[in-house]
Assembly symmetry: C2
Homo-oligomer: 260 residues x 2
Amino acid sequence: MQEQHENNRPSRRYFLKTAGAGAAAIAGFSAFSPSCNPASISSAEYEKFFGQGDTILFQGDSITDAHRDRKNGQFNHPAALGDGYAMLTASELLGKLPGKALTIYNRGISGNKVYQLDERWQQDCIDLEPDVLSILIGVNDYWHMRQGRYDGTAGTYAKDFRSLLKRTRAALPDVRLVICQPFILTETSAVDASWVEPFRAYQESAATIAAEFGATWVPFQEAFDNALSLAPATYWAADGVHPSMAGAQLMANTWLNALK
Amino acid sequence: MQEQHENNRPSRRYFLKTAGAGAAAIAGFSAFSPSCNPASISSAEYEKFFGQGDTILFQGDSITDAHRDRKNGQFNHPAALGDGYAMLTASELLGKLPGKALTIYNRGISGNKVYQLDERWQQDCIDLEPDVLSILIGVNDYWHMRQGRYDGTAGTYAKDFRSLLKRTRAALPDVRLVICQPFILTETSAVDASWVEPFRAYQESAATIAAEFGATWVPFQEAFDNALSLAPATYWAADGVHPSMAGAQLMANTWLNALK
C-alpha cells in the first residue's frame, strides 16, 4: 500500500524533496492534538533519535515475528510487520514522524535463538543496511534448553550475542543499536516461578552486552513487572512469553520511551 | 491468546474482582512513562468515556475490516481486529486501560454500504450488546454509485443511516454512539478532485445524523487534510480511500482524541 520504488526501497529523491518540509511540518503536527499527556510519548522526545530517511530493522524471535507474512518482505506494510510490538511501534513512528520518511522492516522469526539470527544475518540484517537495529532475543535460548531441545547455556547466549554484535559493528559501523530485555511473566500457562532465577542470567547478559556496545536498552521486564499492579499476568501475556494486544502495546510504549 | 471464557465473553466475575484494583492502579500507570506529551492522548482524558467491562464494537467497510480474519470472531485478538485503525485503537485502549477490562470487537466488512450493515445488524451488532458502537460508513455508498454498481444517492445514504441508528437505539437504548466522518484523499491512485463536491453531501449527512443521535463525532477528513502539510496524500492512503499504517495510526489518534 506504501509508495514503492525499484528494489523495494524508497527513493532518496523523495527524502531530499520532503526533508525541509517535513522538519518544518513536525512542529505543526501537534496543532490538531494539543493535549498534554503525562502517560505517553511525545513525538518530539523520540524524534531526535531518528535521522532523515532512516531504515529501522526489528529482529528477534516469535515475539517480534508476531505472525508477520514472511513471504512479504516489504517495509512499512502491516502484513509484513506482523501483529506485535514491532508493528505497533512502526505505526506510531510512521504516524507521528511523517517528515522523516522512515523505512521499517520486521525480520523476526519464531523460535529463533541467537545462533539462528547469526545464520541469517547477512540477508536479514546486513543487506538491509539498517540505521537503527532493534534486537529482542533470549527467551528461546533458555526455554529450549529447559525443554531439552537445545544444549546452549546462559554462557552460550552471551558468547553468541557478543559475536553477533561484533559482526554487526564490523559490517555496519554507524548502526544505532537498540537491545531489548528478554522477559517472562510468571503465573501464566507456560511460565512459573522456577524460571525467574535461571532466566535472570540471560537478562543480565543482555544488559551487560547492551552497555558494552553502547546500545539503547529497552527494559521490557520492568515494564511488565510494573504492569502487574494493573491487571494479572495473563492479561499481558497468556502463556507468559507471547504478549496479548495489551502486552504488545505496553512493549511499543516502552520501546519508544527508551529512545528519549 | 486472550483469556477466554465460555460463550466467548469475559466473565463478569473477573470484572468485579478487578474493578477496584484497576481504578487505583490506573493512577499509578503513568509512573513508568512520566513524560508530558503535547501531541498525543492521555489515558486520563479518554478514560472517562469508558465504563467498567464495556464492550466496544467497530463497524464499517474495508477501512474498518482491514484484512481481519473474519472466521475469527474473538474480541481483543489481533487477527480478529485486522490491521487498521480499529486494531490500533483497540491496542491503545487495552494497553492504557487495563483496569477497565474492555471487550473489543471488529465487525467491519469490506465493500459494505449502509444498507449492508442493516442486513447483518442483528448478528453483527445487536447480539454483541455493545456499550460503545463506532461506525465508519459512506465511501462505498458514493464510490459504487460513481462506478455505476449501485443506484443509491446521498439521500439514500442519509435515509438508510437514520433508519439503522433508529433501529439501534430501539434495541440498545443506552449504547454510546461514535460516528466517524467518511473521508477521501485526492491526488491518489483512485481519487481525484472530482470526488470532493459530491462526496461532501455524504459527509454532511453523517455529521447531521451524528448530531441528531447525540453521537461523538470523529473528524477523519479534517485530520487527513491537516496531515497533508506533513507528507503527501499517498503517504497516508495510496489509493485515497484505504489508509497506510501511518494513516491508520492517524485515525486511531483522531478517534481517541474525539472521546476526550
